[in-house]
């Protein structure tokens, strides 16, 4: 590049800043402004969540049973821990501890991968049960529904499945406040006698469930996949950014006077963590 | 109104448009009520009409294959029209009372271009002659006048803007208001308009004055001492604030009037679909496109949509509300004096958004009652017996707007033609196919997007059709099946 953007003696001080502090302060303001933007970006989804939960409270409490609280809790722990190591990495960078910086960044990235791994397990389980976001996708892969009927017990997720069915009498109570079709559905669910063990039949696969109810359940999963999916994309971006910083840390770019990028990435990572801390109770813990 | 005509004519001259057009639009207009009443009150014998009819007969001889000629009739005499229509015919057509009322009621879509919609059309024996009554004004035939075709006078000739045009009966800014509430809104409008005039005059005037008076001159420097003036700035902040407060409050009060129906108002349900309106009365009577109400009655509209967003706009009553799927919205208006008014859709809803009109007819209570009875019995003949399925199908085809997209003469429209459809192998855009039988037609009407047909070039017709499942009872669907069966073997041109 022909633009000489750098001060000779300070390779990472851009030419248009007076000194390192000036550059750091500008970056800090920039990342905070960006985080505000991010919060507003998610706010649309939270807003949609609030509105649809207010519109169909029973659907939310019921459908939330399909989510695996254990996995969610583990993921929450993983992210909180990674936030700690991210903050620690900033401290390392400020003190010029190269090894500590590399170790902490690596742990953060590993945690992020761990989080995505657990997310992958959760998602694939749901897809296996036919819980796709939106109806078109499900319609296209209609076979999934039948398959899950037969195989539900053989997949690795039997225990949450059972846990869930044990709780299914509770939503029945919630449904009696809602419309009668749903109450009937819950009734059928609780005393299922259609030949299959009712543990095997998720309500979204049950042919006895009216289409209208299935559609409402779809809204929950639409919101669930949008919120966690968008959050997951942010985690992936975080992995890329942290990975890039890790390579720079290994090359020894960061010094006590130049550690802005680590600080900014850590702030971003905290936000990603914080959003998950809201998502977890809102989606997993609402019954 | 004269001022408007004057101003616009002048501006038009400036714009270099044709003088003939200017004359046409600036000509003094007759009251609208008279126009709409023309068809009904046609019993009165009119020498002018007869002479016009005779003239049209003369035109037949002189221009047998020429492009459509437009004849103008001042006051329509239905009997004279029918006489002219049947003149020289071996099998004179018998017009029922209902058909008589259609004569002059409008022009069918596609038969004549939009420029002439809203004018009164009369069938003529010569397929190349279209007679149009527009209160004595000469009409032009634009290049896309559909030459060689006669308006098909059917019950659905009311489809697509069949009303008499609202000619300049209002002020420069607003068309004539039809109710007291509407006049209140106009008062509000005029109040704001005066504020607009005054502020525009002050700002524009000062701008010009300053630019001229303080234009740059050698040796004269700008006065650098004036950088702010707190009292002045406070003044020009407070005055607009007070005016805004007044406007806000006035607007809110009139808005409440527009939105709060009197408790004794008559309720009419309206269902919007792409692209039309269906009105349902408390007695259960349904009327597509045509909306009759008794005069001087508060009417409350309860509206919903079967597909996308629409908006019910009654300009004459200054009333409007969006119409949403899965939700009911309400507005009301006081019908006021008899007359014919426009209903527009003002929320963009796809291809034929600009053709989604309905006609509001305000008529004396007796006429309304009579119309209601007739509208309720459209599937029944004079003796109170059910009409044959085929006839019900044909009427349904005309009433429900099928004809605006599906031709019966084989030409391709927005949708595939019905001609020769029966028994045909249909190719769908998902690669499957089916034979056009009862099942296929039923499903196409109730759930059209489940099987979207492709045309001869393999291009999909797309998701254009109205979903009729919430609206069409089974006998009408069966009628449609019969009707389409009856068109078996007609040549297709797609």
């Amino acid at each position: 590049m022909s633009d000489a953007h750098g001060h000779g003696d300070k390779p990472f001080l851009a030419h248009h800043f007076e000194d390192e502090d000036h550059q750091f302060d500008s970056g800090k303001l920039g990342i905070w402004a960006f985080l505000v933007t991010e919060i507003l970006f998610f706010s649309g989804l939270f807003c949609a969540y609030v509105i649809y939960r207010a519109m169909h409270p029973e659907v939310f409490t019921f459908a939330s049973n399909a989510l695996d609280t254990q996995m969610g809790a583990i993921n929450t722990g993983v992210l909180i821990f990674s936030s700690l190591t991210a903050a620690w990495a900033v401290r390392n960078a400020q003190l010029g501890q190269k090894t500590g910086l590399i170790v902490n960044l690596s742990i953060t990235i590993l945690c992020a991968f761990g989080f995505m791994g657990i997310k992958y397990l959760e998602y694939s389980h749901k897809f296996h049960l036919g819980l796709f976001p939106g109806d078109k996708y499900e319609a296209k892969e209609g076979a999934y529904g039948d398959e899950s009927k037969g195989n539900a017990n053989t997949v690795a997720f039997t225990s949450p499945e059972e846990e869930e069915s044990a709780e299914e009498t509770e939503p029945g109570v919630a449904f009696s406040r809602g419309d009668t079709a749903e109450a009937e559905l819950a009734e059928q669910e609780a005393h299922g006698d259609d030949g299959h063990g009712h543990e095997e039949l998720a309500p979204w696969n049950d042919p006895n469930v009216p289409e209208a109810t299935k559609r409402k359940l779809k809204i929950f999963f639409g919101i669930y996949f949008c919120m966690t999916g968008l959050h997951g994309i942010h985690v992936l971006i975080g992995i890329l950014v942290l990975g890039w910083l890790l390579t720079r840390a290994i090359r020894g770019h960061f010094t006590p006077t130049y550690y802005g990028p680590i600080d900014f990435a850590a702030l971003y990572w905290h936000l990603v963590d914080l959003i998950w801390i809201y998502l977890f109770p809102l989606l997993y813990l609402i019954n | 109104m004269k001022f408007q005509a004057f101003l616009l004519t002048t501006l038009l001259g400036l714009a270099g448009a044709s003088a003939g057009l200017a004359q046409d639009d600036a000509a003094p207009a007759a009251p609208t009520a008279a126009e709409s009443a023309a068809a009904e009150s046609a019993a009165a014998e009119s020498a002018a009409a007869e002479s016009a009819a005779a003239e049209s007969a003369a035109a037949e001889d002189s221009a047998p294959a020429a492009p459509a000629t437009i004849r103008v009739v001042d006051d329509l005499d239905v009997d004279a029209v029918i006489a002219a229509f049947n003149e020289g015919s071996d099998a004179p057509r018998q017009f029922t009372d209902e058909e008589r009322s259609w004569i002059g009621a409008g022009v069918a879509p596609g038969d004549i271009d939009k420029a002439h919609q809203g004018y009164v059309a009369i069938p003529s024996t010569d397929p190349n002659v279209v007679i149009i009554n527009r209160n004595g004004k000469e009409l032009r035939v634009t290049s896309n006048a559909d030459a060689g075709r006669v308006p098909v006078i059917t019950p659905d000739s009311s489809h697509m803007m069949p009303f008499a045009p609202e000619v300049d009966n209002g002020s420069f800014w607003m068309a004539e208001a039809a109710s007291e509430t509407a006049k209140d809104v106009d008062r509000m409008f005029n109040f704001i308009m005066w504020i607009n005039y005054i502020f525009a005059a002050i700002i524009g005037g000062l701008m010009v004055l300053f630019c001229v008076k303080y234009r740059r001159r050698p040796g004269v420097r700008a006065d650098q001492t004036i950088t702010h003036n707190t009292p002045l700035e406070i003044t020009w902040s407070i005055i607009p604030t007070i005016l805004c407060a007044i406007m806000f409050w006035g607007g809110y009060v009139t808005f409440l009037d527009l939105r709060t129906p009197p408790p004794d108002s008559m309720k009419v349900n309206a269902t919007a679909y792409r692209w039309g309106w269906n009105f349902q009365y408390p007695s259960g009577v349904e009327s597509p496109q045509e909306f009759h109400v008794p005069a001087n009655t508060p009417i409350e509209m309860v509206m919903t949509s079967t597909d996308t967003l629409h908006s019910f706009h009654l300009p004459a009553y200054r009333s409007k509300s969006d119409v949403l799927p899965n939700r009911y919205t309400k507005i009301w208006f006081n019908s006021g004096e008899p007359g014919t008014y426009r209903v527009y859709c003002t929320e963009y809803c796809g291809k034929d958004h600009s053709n989604m009109y309905a006609k509001l007819v305000v008529e004396p209570r007796e006429d309304y009652e009579a119309w209601l009875t007739k509208a309720g019995n459209w599937m029944v003949n004079e003796n109170g017996e059910m009409k044959p399925l085929l006839e019900i199908g044909e009427l349904t085809y005309n009433r429900r707007g099928c004809k605006s997209c599906h031709s019966i003469d084989g030409t391709k429209g927005t949708g595939p033609t019905f001609a020769g459809l029966w028994g045909l192998e249909r190719q769908f855009d998902d690669g499957t196919s089916a034979v056009a039988d009862e099942q296929y037609i039923n499903q196409s009407i109730r759930d059209p997007y489940s099987q979207v047909v492709v045309d001869a070039n393999g291009v999909s017709y797309g998701k254009q059709m109205t979903i009729y499942s919430p609206m069409l009872p089974v006998e009408q669907i069966n009628g449609m099946i019969e009707f389409i069966k009856s068109l078996e073997g007609v040549a297709r041109k797609d």
């Binding site: 590049m1 633009d3 248009h16 500008s26 303001l29 920039g30 933007t37 970006f41 706010s43 649309g44 649809y52 078109k136 209208a212 779809k218 809204i219 919101i223 | 616009l8 714009a15 057009l21 271009d113 939009k114 420029a115 002439h116 634009t142 045009p165 609202e166 000619v167 209002g170 800014w173 607003m174 409008f189 504020i195 607009n196 700002i203 701008m207 630019c211 303080y214 740059r216 004269v220 420097r221 700008a222 650098q224 004036i226 002045l232 020009w236 902040s237 805004c244 806000f248 607007g251 809110y252 967003l309 908006s311 200054r318 509300s321 799927p325 919205t329 929320e347 963009y348 291809k351 998701k463």
Partner: protein, 562 residues
């Protein structure tokens, strides 16, 4: 830099031109494509948005020609729907929103601050490429199935009833949104952190106040558009049902989300325009701007209030009466800062030394057209009259007066104002003025009749109409053609100046803001040392100099030796 030390009282003039400037200091495609220089990025934006404007203009012309007569002339209704949609979408997303901030702002903002660049040059380049990708997606839309949803993408039509390329278009808008966010973020930080010594908040030129308000709105509103469009894409592709009434969703929620962005977006379009006009009017009146603080504060208050008025787009969309009451009331509060600005500009003209050069003609045109646009906005803020006028041509005329008469005219004014600085060339003043007057006349003829036909009931987005509106439509089409002639002459004037224009002096207009202190065009790094900022509207600081045919610092205000 070749600037020489100048003794304070020396008659030596500051450097007017440099052999090496930002345009020619390096050559080759990559030196532009990968540049981090805000001025080059600004110029690349300028080329891009000008082409978008041309494309949107062609669609506008097609619309007006089609509407010249009732009945369909040369397209069918489906084509017409695509044309008006693409006109709106291209103009709004590709031209008006990025127009002033990204094209003019990028060039001018750091110069005005005496800074060497914006705070984050790489992010700036990234913004540009996001804009370019968004534009590419629009081109893709054009060449796939087009778009017929209206630029607002209202559901459920956009999700369930159209066969056009909604996904490409919304993905494009999504990218354009992030381009806008990054530009706003960059400007916000730049204005906060890169001000030169002496430039306190109350010495900030009004252009920067306007850009600051714009940046706030870009940062806080655009992400909501982003997520809305993402949901729309999810809805269209997967059918998650959030906006689809058939699945228990709520189409009106989409409108709330959309207007929560798009109302601030209206001010994202108009605030920079007001900012440009404040500069031009002061410069060409050779007078200190009147009521500096009121103009500055009104910019920020408009920015903040703009977040509270989105509901006035939905007075007839089944909004509750209480909500309409609140939104109508807040809408009026936003009218007042706008009115204050107009009065302040008027007072700036008073006892000024007014020179009607091309930028000033556009600024005065803006003042008049924005006044009309603003006043007619009152009808739409008043609940009962809005019910009549909503979705009619009255609204079309109103927002064209604000967006075209306002933003476009201010953009063109700013373009002419900073053209000598950006390109180092003077354009022909005569043909510039003729173009400005022609465009002004054409614009009024095109859009004033639309007020009348709108209040008389002509609904918007109609491919066809009844004969009683024919006259108004014909006037409007005629006006559009005149406007087109004016704009063509403008393009000719500016392009010709690039090849045959005189060399521009550093300060051709006599403005006192910092960007005029560096040579025209500026060198690569703008200023060797941050200049000392004083009152940006102290016009006595510069005086006319016959020899350089421009303004130079007055005796006593010569730049001090570095």
């Amino acid at each position: 830099m070749t600037q020489v030390d100048i003794p304070v009282e020396s008659p030596v003039r500051p450097v007017q031109h440099l052999d090496k400037n930002f345009i020619n200091h390096s050559k080759g495609f990559l030196s532009w494509a990968l540049t981090l220089d805000h001025k080059r990025i600004g110029l690349m934006y300028l080329v891009g948005i000008s082409l978008s404007f041309f494309l949107g203009g062609l669609f506008a012309l097609a619309i007006r020609l089609e509407l010249f007569s009732p009945g369909m002339q040369f397209m069918d209704a489906a084509t017409y729907n695509q044309v008006f949609t693409l006109h709106g979408a291209v103009m709004v997303f590709l031209f008006i929103i990025p127009g002033i901030p990204a094209a003019l702002g990028n060039v001018v903002l750091p110069l005005m601050l005496g800074a060497k660049d914006v705070a984050f040059p790489r992010l700036n380049l990234c913004s540009y490429y996001l804009w370019l990708s968004g534009a590419a997606f629009f081109i893709w839309t054009l060449f796939s199935n087009g778009l017929d949803t209206g630029w607002t993408f209202y559901t459920p039509y956009s999700t369930s009833y159209t066969d056009t390329s909604v996904i490409q278009a919304t993905a494009g808008v999504f990218m354009l949104g992030f381009s806008s966010i990054f530009t706003g973020l960059n400007f916000l930080v730049t204005i906060h952190k890169m001000r030169p010594p002496g430039m306190t908040w109350h010495k900030l030129p009004l252009f920067l106040w306007g850009m600051y308000g714009t940046a706030i709105m870009q940062l806080l509103a655009t992400p909501v558009l982003g997520i809305t469009l993402l949901l729309l894409i999810m809805e269209t592709t997967l059918g998650i049902g959030i906006f689809d009434p058939q699945k228990g969703g709520d189409p009106v929620l989409y409108q709330h989300f959309f207007w929560f962005y798009s109302h601030p977006a209206v001010y994202i379009m108009i605030l920079p325009a007001m900012a440009v006009v404040s500069e031009i009017i002061a410069a060409f009146s050779r007078k200190h701007i009147f009521g500096y603080r009121m103009i500055a504060y009104s910019s920020v208050s408009i920015a903040l209030l703009s977040f509270l008025v989105w509901g006035h787009h939905m007075f007839v969309s089944s909004e509750s009466t209480l909500a309409t009451l609140i939104f109508s009331a807040i809408t009026f509060t936003i009218a007042i800062p706008s009115a204050i600005k107009v009065f302040n500009w008027l007072a700036t003209l008073y006892k000024g030394s007014v020179q009607l050069d091309t930028p000033m003609l556009y600024a005065l045109g803006f003042m008049w057209l924005f006044t009309i646009g603003g006043l007619t906005g009152l009808f739409l803020a008043v609940l009962s009259t809005d019910v009549v006028l909503h979705d009619t041509y009255f609204v079309v005329a109103h927002f064209h007066y604000v967006m075209v008469g306002g933003t476009l005219f201010a953009f063109l004014g700013g373009l002419h104002y900073w053209w000598p600085k950006m390109t180092g060339k003077m354009y022909s003043e005569t043909s510039g003025r003729i173009a400005a007057v022609t465009a002004f006349i054409g614009f009024n003829l095109a859009f004033f009749p639309q007020f009348i036909m709108g209040s008389r009931g002509m609904p918007r987005r109609y491919a066809d109409y009844t004969a009683d509106f024919e006259l108004y439509h014909r006037l409007s089409t005629t006006g559009t053609l005149i406007l087109g002639v004016g704009l063509a002459l403008l393009a000719y004037t500016l392009l010709r100046s690039l090849f045959g224009g005189k060399k521009a002096p550093a300060n051709p207009w006599g403005s006192a803001t910092i960007e005029w202190e560096c040579p025209s065009p500026p060198p690569h790094h703008n200023f060797d040392h941050p200049p000392l900022a004083t009152d940006p509207y102290d016009m006595e600081r510069v005086e006319w100099d016959e020899e350089v045919q421009g303004y130079v610092p007055a005796v006593g205000h010569r730049p001090t030796a570095h």
